[in-house]
Amino acid sequence: MSLSFCFLGAISFGLLGSALKAAERRKANAAGLVVSAYAWAASLMLVRTLLLKPGGHVPTKVYAIAVIFGICAAVASLAFQVSISIGKVTVGWLMMNLSAAIPVVVSVWMYHEKLTLLKVVALGLVLVSIVFLFWGQVVEKRAARNPAGRG
């Protein structure tokens, strides 16, 4: 039963990627869509924050990093939305998820986290995958330029 929530999460996130592509097909403005999504999410999180028990002190540094990383997230969302108008949603979505490797690398560097064999294999696969995805895009561009030729 608990495991079914994992699959529910997968379906929810998968539908999110598909909904963003559907919005692009309906000519939704990329920046407008990101602003709208972030406005909805900020409002909901604000309500959740206001429902917290009062008295907890939040250090200023928490707000400072929230602004920096929030801007990073919004830029990523905008880049994703623009990318699916010129490329495949599947590749864009995979790239959003491959980015999970970045915090792993930064954690090893900043927090001196142990670089296990599993992490090395995972990071290696992510790197090779990016090379293949970029290669695939080059092949597709060549094929588009020369439709009569072979890939």
Binding site: L3, C6, F7, G9, A10, I11, S12, F13, G14, L16, G17, S18, L20, K21, A22, A23, R25, A28, N29, A31, G32, L33, V34, S36, Y38, W40, A41, A42, R48, L52, V62, I65, V67, F69, G70, I71, C72, A74, V75, A79, S83, K88, T90, W93, M95, N97, S99, I102, V106, L118, K119, A122, S129, F132, L133, F134, W135, G136, V139, E140
Partner: protein
């Protein structure tokens, strides 16, 4: 242009999640994540809305509707993962299923609904990336 966008996604989206790791490292209580995420979303909102306003762009019904759908699905996914975690399912099971599964759903929708076709290098990159993401989740 596409390559630049992909690199931008990789770096900015990757770094965007790092704040929660920093907070955990500071040993702050779990509830700090709510005001953190409120400002996180608000910061992103202002960063994109400001240039839009300066250019005189407005939000239409399409953006408001699909933005709402995206927000609801994102929060739905987060809640589902939170429920799974609080029910005792370990993180190394929850994250690979949720993230790997979402890639599978998008790939399926890309093929069946949006008619996307993959050339061999892209298909191989997708398969390797899928395994890579699941392993990152497991690690």
């Amino acid at each position: 242009m596409w390559f630049l966008l992909m690199l931008m996604i990789l770096l900015t989206n990757g770094m965007s999640a790092f704040g929660l790791k920093m907070i955990a490292g500071w040993g702050l209580p779990e509830t700090v994540k709510y005001p953190y995420l409120t400002v996180w979303y608000a910061g992103g909102l202002v960063a994109i809305a400001l240039p839009m306003l300066l250019k005189g762009m407005r939000l239409g019904k399409t953006e408001l509707f699909w933005g709402g759908v995206a927000g609801a699905l994102s929060i739905g996914g987060q809640i589902a993962m939170a429920v799974a975690l609080s029910s005792g399912v370990p993180g190394h099971v929850v994250f690979p299923i949720a993230i790997g599964g979402s890639i599978f759903v998008v790939a399926l929708a890309g093929r069946l609904i949006f008619g996307e076709r993959m050339n061999p290098p892209t298909a191989l990159g997708l398969a390797l990336g899928f395994v890579g993401v699941v392993l990152v989740g497991l690690s």
